[in-house]
């Protein structure tokens, strides 16, 4: 039985701003199902003495000193902008937030 529904794929795609065709939704529902099932197998080997972890490296507290380094030159920063004005990125009208 599939654990990832078409609706779920469509909803997540919308949240991620990915435009999927109905055929793609079908295909990804199936593929994601396979991925989820594969990962679920990990549960079979996980025992209570294996702590949950979100990170593969046995490291903590990797900190940087609070010392500034030179910033990117503004010209380089804006070189990647589709459009710029007054040293700032110009973006299309923002909708739906206010």
């Amino acid at each position: 039985m599939s654990t990832i529904s078409r609706d779920e794929v469509a909803r997540v795609a919308a949240l991620a701003r990915i435009d999927l065709s109905p055929e793609e939704v079908d295909r990804f529902a199936g593929e994601l199902d396979v991925i989820v099932e594969s990962i679920a197998r990990v549960r079979e080997v996980a025992t209570p003495d294996v702590p949950a972890t979100s990170h593969p490296l046995p490291m903590t507290n990797v900190f940087r000193e609070d010392v500034p380094t030179p910033a990117l030159p503004v010209a380089d920063v804006l070189a990647a902008a589709p459009d710029a004005e007054d040293g700032r990125f110009a973006v299309p009208q923002i909708l739906g937030e206010e």
């Binding site: 997540v12 507290n61 990797v62 000193e65 010392v67 503004v74 040293g87």
Partner: protein, 505 residues
């Protein structure tokens, strides 16, 4: 866009609303940390830099850029957590909060979700009349600020009607700590005051901890205010609204007040409160709906794979705890005891923002009573006249200390001291300089006084007769004449002594 509560509702009179409903608050305060660099990269951060001059590939979200945590920001977050009586996590991690908005260049904000660095704290908040209300803190977590959008083409820079927007990423990645309260109950009609006092207490704490300049007008401290109403204190919590980005103490108070009146109007009419984000309007103190929360509130949080956990050692936490400065409330209580002011006097001092000034004036040698007398009397009056804060007057606590020592040593009297004050405020220099330049020193030279006394005695022989006859009452007339002749610069006590000697002699 959907504005389900756009229909205007009748606001219920505030006093009536809080008589019939029990308000519950929840406050989220964001503070920008005053580190030199950003949270996850070494771009400098400072207020007022030219647009996009403080960015790195990390703060621009360029492909392949990897974040590294600013250790000082973590220390500041722990300081804040400890000052708010929180537990500090043994281990915590960052998470991605995913959403799309032009001021978030990575398309996610690096924040903390299920594992905040600090949790389970409280803060006792003191209202202006001295009442204490305990606010419970659910959590304080680390995250980063967004860039700044400027909307072009619409009215007054609002999004509505804007043709396009300009984005400056200097602020993107500036370290933030977000402090979230548990539901604040039991404040009743004083809920707006409690909200204001809480945000103000936090601001004072940030400053004392030296973790932020905490300037409200620069947006260093921003509050989101949740308000809900319920019929009685025993009822389940009502539906809340969240008024975003309320950025002054007064606005926090007004926003809570408005929401209480508005929600009471809805409930009275049998409508329901919509759970939504609202915007506060400074001009009339009202709020208006933004987006409906349930629509968009799916941030697909997941643990940040590019950062390892933060696990502050207990030794480090204790070291930070041991170096915490005295917090504002403890300091107020200590000074209250040391100075021996009455409760009401102390409250007035605090509310007038004179605490630091008076403390510094005492450090400059004045007695607590004298320091209070100057700042809460003559100086408060002048500040009010020129409509400025006490601290903005062109006079320092050290100068007031000097002025008072001139009075104490008898070189000037109280009346002349006010003239000296005028001189200092007019930029004529320190009190000593003003006294010399204006020739205000008390005439202590007995010779000069005697000349004036003899003149006055000669002019009023009848007084001399009466005094010689054993009636000292009329001697005041002679003293008055001498004070007049010396333009008030004589020490009246000395004049009296000399007059009596002269008449007797």
């Amino acid at each position: 866009m959907t504005t389900t509560s756009a229909t205007p509702v009748a606001l219920v009179d505030y006093d009536d609303a809080v008589r019939r409903y029990d308000p519950v608050l929840g406050i989220e305060v964001h503070v920008e940390l005053g580190t030199r660099t950003k949270m996850f990269c070494s771009a400098e951060q400072s207020f007022g830099a030219d647009p996009n001059t403080q960015t790195t590939p990390v703060s621009l979200g360029l492909p392949g850029a990897l974040p590294v945590v600013n250790g000082t920001a973590v220390e500041y977050a722990i300081r804040i957590g400890l000052a708010l009586n929180c537990q500090i996590a043994e281990s915590c991690r960052f998470a991605r909060k995913n959403y799309f908005y032009p001021d978030v260049p990575k398309n996610f904000q690096t924040s903390q979700y299920d594992e905040p660095i600090a949790f389970d704290g409280w803060l006792d908040v003191e209202l202006e009349d001295g009442t204490v209300h305990r606010v419970e803190i659910e959590r304080a977590h680390m995250e980063e600020d967004a860039g700044k959008n400027t909307h072009v083409g619409g009215a007054a820079g609002r999004i509505h009607g804007a043709e396009y927007s300009l984005v400056d990423y200097n602020r993107a990645g500036v370290p933030l700590v977000e402090i979230v309260t548990r539901p604040i109950t039991g404040a009743g009609e004083r809920a707006p005051e409690v909200a204001r006092a809480y945000v103000q207490a936090l601001r004072d704490i940030f400053r004392v901890l030296d973790v932020s300049e905490a300037r409200m007008e620069r947006g260093n401290v921003r509050a989101d205010v949740n308000v809900s109403l319920r019929p009685t204190a025993d009822s389940p919590l009502g539906t809340r609204t969240e008024t975003k980005n309320v950025n002054s103490f007064r606005s926090v108070e007004r926003a809570v007040r408005y929401e209480i009146s508005r929600q009471a109007g809805l409930l009275d009419a049998g409508d329901t409160v919509v759970q939504e984000t609202r915007h506060f309007h400074e001009d009339d103190g009202s709020t208006s709906p933004g987006r409906v929360k349930s629509d968009a509130e799916d941030y697909r949080y997941f643990p940040e794979p590019d950062l390892v956990p933060v696990a502050p050692s207990r030794a480090w936490v204790e070291e930070i705890r041991a170096t915490l400065p005295e917090l504002p409330q403890a300091r107020r209580r200590r000074l209250h005891d040391e100075w021996g002011f009455a409760d009401a006097e102390m409250r007035d001092v605090v509310n007038a923002g004179a605490l630091d000034l008076i403390e510094a004036t005492i450090a400059a040698g004045a007695s607590p009573a004298a320091a209070r007398k100057w700042w809460m009397g003559e100086l408060a009056r002048r500040a009010k006249q020129s409509e400025v804060e006490l601290a903005a007057l062109a006079i320092t606590p050290a100068q007031i200390g000097e002025l008072q020592s001139l009075v104490d040593s008898g070189r000037i009297n109280d009346k002349i001291a006010r003239q000296v004050l005028d001189g200092v405020l007019a930029g004529e220099g320190d009190p000593e300089q003003v006294v010399v330049a204006r020739g205000l020193e008390v005439v202590s030279d007995d010779g000069a006084l005697l000349a004036a006394i003899d003149e006055a005695l000669a002019a009023q022989p009848d007084v001399v007769e009466k005094v010689r006859g054993g009636n000292q009452g009329p001697v005041g007339a002679i003293i008055g004449a001498v004070m007049k002749a010396t333009k008030g610069q004589a020490d009246a006590k000395r004049v009296r002594e000399l007059v009596l000697e002269r008449i007797a002699g």
